[in-house]
């Protein structure tokens, strides 16, 4: 078995329940697969209840209800109730669309621990443009209600070239909404974001400025509001320990029951990925070939194999290695030791130089919606407006 150099397979502490790919928003950096329209057959309430019980038995503690927009599932209250009774710390990761006071109250009664609300920007105009819907005012109302009902609140802002200069306003908005935590989440270039990366990748000067402001506010708000800020790894020389290791902490169950070591892994070729309809979580996590495939370090080839940092970063991200080099067993090209590293950085530089150019910026984003997804699946050029 690939993980055999480890004494013991770790526990899946984090269960991400992607309840659905349905979502009223159309964010062009969505982490859902671009082929999402071809994923049919959502798990039933009964299937999810079984998944929750099995994962909890395996030691899972943190549970994220995500999507798509999880609020589109009318059984969400029932799933929260069961999850809380099982002892999960229950996180609802939402756009806020589909929420109202009645539902927030019902979630509280069901035992929901925490709500994370996403915003697309600090201004109404940009927020609504990126989300592809008029949602900004509703999001603010929902954030007020989340606090009114005593939940800890995380506000999540995905950063990219179009909103990176708003970081100060974003943090002021977060203070005004009384957020407990703010995630200045860097766009991860998978799925829709990968397709739109020329329009989304921030410039180096934008990043330097955003980092400076984030640090100022981290100091100013110490103890009151926790601010998470991470530099996008495209700009780095050392790769991240992606998902804290393949099959090490995270277990994602996608809407149709496919179990994944991370929500982007579905795209990797040569992997089937087990389904919770056919197998229990214990077999999937411990025994399935796919969860063992990149576990530990024995799958590695050079330059990872002999690298003295291989236990620290585990070779970086498998999906990024595949997307940028065509081979998932290569080192993540973020790594300075990767033969593809120069190519990545020169591409980043190329985009950086073009940023701001009127013609370059005029290229439209491909928004995340089922119509564009169907075009991707049919290998047609997606509609760009």
């Amino acid at each position: 078995m690939a993980g055999s150099e480890q004494n013991k397979i770790p526990q899946p502490l984090w269960l991400l329940a992607e309840l659905t790919y349905a979502c009223p928003l159309q964010c062009p950096y969505c982490s859902n697969p671009v082929e999402m329209a071809s994923v049919k057959n959502e798990l039933s309430t009964g299937d999810w209840l079984r998944v929750l019980r099995e994962a909890r038995k395996m030691g899972a503690t943190q549970l994220g209800f995500s999507g798509g927009e999880p609020l589109t599932r009318i059984d969400l209250e029932e799933l929260i109730t069961e999850a809380r009774q099982l002892g999960f710390y229950t996180n609802l990761i939402t756009s806020g669309i589909g929420m109202d006071e009645k539902r927030i109250k019902a979630f509280k009664q069901a035992g929901l621990d925490h709500i994370q609300v996403s915003f697309q920007a600090s201004s109404e105009e940009l927020n609504n443009f990126i989300a592809g819907t008029n949602t900004f005012e509703h999001k603010k109302e929902m954030a007020h209600l989340v606090k009114k009902y005593g939940y800890p609140m995380v506000l999540c802002f995905v950063l990219h070239r179009k909103n990176e200069d708003q970081v100060k306003d974003i943090l002021e908005l977060s203070i005004a909404l009384e957020a407990d935590y703010v995630e200045l989440a860097t766009t991860q270039y998978y799925g829709w974001a990968y397709h739109n990366r020329e329009q989304l990748l921030p410039t180096k000067s934008q990043l330097a400025n955003a980092e400076k402001i984030a640090k100022e506010y981290q100091k100013k708000m110490e103890g009151k509001m926790k601010i998470y800020y991470v530099i996008p790894d495209y700009f780095e020389d050392r790769p991240k320990k992606c998902m804290d290791g393949w099959g090490n902490v995270f277990l994602t169950i996608s809407p149709d029951g496919t179990a994944l070591p991370c929500h982007a892994a579905r795209q990797l070729p040569g992997l089937e990925f087990p389904n919770v309809r056919d197998h229990d979580i214990e077999w999937i996590w411990n025994e399935s070939p796919d969860f063992n495939k990149f576990r530990g370090t024995s799958w590695m080839k050079e330059p990872c194999k002999s690298c003295d940092e291989k236990h620290k970063d585990l070779g970086g991200c498998r999906c990024q290695a595949y997307m940028l080099t065509g081979d998932a067993t290569n080192a993540d090209p973020v790594c300075g030791k990767s033969e593809f590293h120069e190519e990545l950085h020169s591409d980043v530089d190329r985009i950086g130089k073009l940023a701001g150019d009127e013609k370059f910026e005029a290229k439209p984003l491909v928004f995340r919606n089922m119509k564009n997804s169907k075009n991707f699946t049919a290998k047609k050029t997606p509609e760009t407006v």
Partner: protein, 97 residues
Amino acid sequence: MLKDDTDKGIGLEVIPSIAATHRLQWEEAQNCHVILYPEGMVKLSPSSAEILQLCDGRKKIKMIVNELQEKFTETDLENDILNFLEVAHSNGWIRTK
């Protein structure tokens, strides 16, 4: 906001409680107590768990010290307990009144 201006910091006369944003819980699979918070978890040593279980929003820290000294028949736990509660407080696990 995690902490408002009414928080009293750490001292023998203040009353600590687990922060509303956090949850203290026994984890069978880990064989230890843990602190849970949005998207995160910290495993606790047995002594840390003993202290936090007494942070119930009713007892002053000096009462917690007395109770633990009695339970473990020790006389010099005050500094250790205060030091740990300082850490717990600065991590946002507890708040005080």
